[in-house]
Point group: none
Chain length 402, copies 2
């Protein structure tokens, strides 16, 4: 990981543009030993062409052997060492729904859940109630009053909400109330530090009132909270790299992590073609475009090898519309691996291609896991190397020393 | 970067010899996409033979994406992490002309320059006056007297000089006076810390007197100063590695950085053949020979692809005279890349070959950028790994632990 002060001193303005295209969970595994991975099976003439003229490798998102969540893995891609830059999910969720979070706020993610007459959780997701129902219940919960703090209860989607407390001396070292299993009672919002006791008491008060309000609304008759967090005070993308950066991402989590590093989250749209259209529409306004493709990961998590293959192929088909923009640097990668074989995120290094006019191409002729192992970026490079390399290839870094 | 205390404890005496041959700016880029780099185009039967029997790879001089100056990149090759070991150019220049710099001295580089009647710089290099004229002017400047300090004004070459102040309580946190553009006035030697105020006042006094003395000597009618620095107190090459080390380098900058780490800078000669002859002449006297070839970098900076190719070929032709010495370890690399395509230093990893009897050869058959990507040293290893590897291959490191 590079020291941000160091790179901040070296960055200079050039009229060059960088695209970072992230296919979520891109890395895969063969279903049969010796067979192709999802990416290797996919017909990707455009990626292969970029690979032939670019530089390939596989990045390690966090540390060797570590399976990352999407928050840490994205921070790594943005150049922020995920072990040093940690943030609670509550903050990411709040930012993801464009909530204007302040540094002193405490945010948590919430799930509506179902409990039985003994108070035991029977469904941690309340049967995934419709978003509209979620909105109605949030409106009721906003009637809750807590002494000395302002309260925000915000719908995310289906059973998911964000809770934000705003006031003085609030701290977020509070244990999750989600027992993470059915048949157990919701946990107490336990204060993990002395400084967090006041806030934990307020949360407890909130949950008691919420329980009363929701009592008649089965299946959504209770609330589970987790990921209590405050917004960290990190150097922004623009401060570090001098880049005006835009995020094109539909899902709240990814919008959140992008906003946390100071990117502007553009209009959320569905589908790769429309996402790329947003890049085209806003091409003049930014230096750096982070484009997130979600569904590759979902297919992996569903164990659907073929669907992941065809989603990768769909992204490949849209690539010419990015190439036409004539970017100076184009990086194609994933945030982590999600092999359909495993049905979850994994620790495997992630295929990466970097194309620029000045990248010094290697001998890789195909964009795939095994081909990338022979590439000039190496078979296991830290994800945090990518942004400095993008900056160099965009000719946006001064020489260090004489 | 390896901790020096660690390697110091492990080093042991063996009667083995190491040669580190550095072709400045060796790494390159193809002129046409898909074409050969300078090194790939060069016919280098001797390097290729060493590559076949050795171990190849590409080193990252400072950090991924960072374009280094020659000072930092050489420190990396010598095993000193360039981010931790930083030194001002004044010190390197003073050491480079064999000035006997003391730890309390403050040194700066100087350029004679031309100013017009309004005091605006018209030529930052005073038309590159002849070295002989430089000597005459330095003799005049030595008449300047400053209260309480001794003053040294030393010719480097053409328009370049070194200024050294010797006295008590001198500090070097002083801004450059070179405005770095024509049409501007020379800047004040501004003190950047309270401790440096006294020294900055002395420098200001010096420059005022220099202006008066030089007034009638257009085009060299003023002086610009930069790179104020004191000699850092670093562990020496001999202390860390137990190596008696010699530097064969003609240019002041490289002699300076070698002396800074405690190498003995041998007689400066012109041309690779004569440099290698110095190695032969002094073969018995040292354990480690750093040999610097400058012109490859100059050709790259001139954008002269073919000249860089032929200079590389010329070095290759001389290699048998080093092989005949039967070195235990021979490393051939560059300090950084200077692709003729870019006409300046770049961030690209640098081709490296390490040959020794014990190196465990890889499958690389040619010394070139793409071939090195497949080598056993890897496509992107830190430059600071090289010295410990050289030590190991010279059987000069004890086992760590039992």
């Amino acid at each position: 990981m590079m020291d941000f002060d160091f790179i901040r001193e070296l960055n200079k303005h050039e009229d060059t543009k960088i695209i970072l295209l992230v296919m979520d969970g891109l890395g895969g595994l063969p279903i049969q030993p010796g067979g192709p991975t999802e990416l290797e099976q996919a017909r990707t003439p455009n990626f292969d062409d970029l690979a032939r003229h670019g530089l390939c490798g596989l990045h390690v998102p966090v540390r060797p052997g570590i399976t990352p969540g999407s928050g840490p893995s994205h921070l790594g891609l943005f150049g922020y060492d995920p072990l040093r830059y940690q943030v609670g999910r509550g903050v990411l969720s709040a930012l993801g729904i464009d909530f204007d979070l302040r540094n002193s706020d405490v945010a948590a993610r919430g799930n509506f859940c179902s409990i039985d007459e003994n108070g035991l959780v029977t469904d941690r997701r309340a049967g995934r109630i419709p978003t509209e129902k979620n909105r109605e219940l949030c409106a009721l919960l906003r009637n809750i009053e807590l002494p000395g703090v302002e309260l925000f209860v915000e719908t995310v989607k289906e059973h998911r909400i964000v809770l934000v407390l705003r006031g003085e001396d609030l701290e977020a070292d509070i244990a999750d109330t989600d027992p993470e299993e059915v048949g157990a009672k919701p946990l107490e919002p336990e204060a993990l530090t002395t400084e967090s006791r006041k806030t934990a008491d307020l949360v407890k008060n909130f949950l008691e009132q919420a329980g009363t309000i929701l009592a008649g609304h089965h299946p959504a008759n209770m609330l589970l909270l987790r990921g209590f967090a405050k917004k960290p005070d990190w150097p922004s993308f623009e401060q570090i790299y001098g880049l005006r950066a835009a995020a094109i991402a539909g899902y709240p989590m990814y919008r959140g992590v992008a906003k946390l590093v100071g990117m502007e989250a553009l209009q959320a749209v569905d589908g790769v073609e429309r996402e790329f259209q947003v890049v085209r529409d806003r091409w003049r306004d930014f230096d750096f475009f982070y484009v997130h493709v979600k569904h590759t990961d979902s297919a992996g998590e569903d164990g659907d090898f073929e669907r992941k293959v065809s989603l990768i192929e769909e992204v490949d088909r849209q690539i010419p519309s990015l190439i036409e923009l004539d970017p100076d640097v184009l990086i194609v990668t994933g945030d982590h691996s999600t092999p359909a074989l495993l049905k979850h995120h994994s620790w495997h290094p992630v295929p990466t291609l970097l194309w620029s006019k000045h990248c010094r191409q290697d001998n890789v002729e195909q964009f795939g896991e095994r081909a990338c192992m022979q590439g000039g970026l190496g078979p296991r490079f830290p994800a945090t190397d990518l942004l400095p390399l993008a900056m160099a290839n965009a000719l946006r870094l001064e020489k260090f020393g004489a």
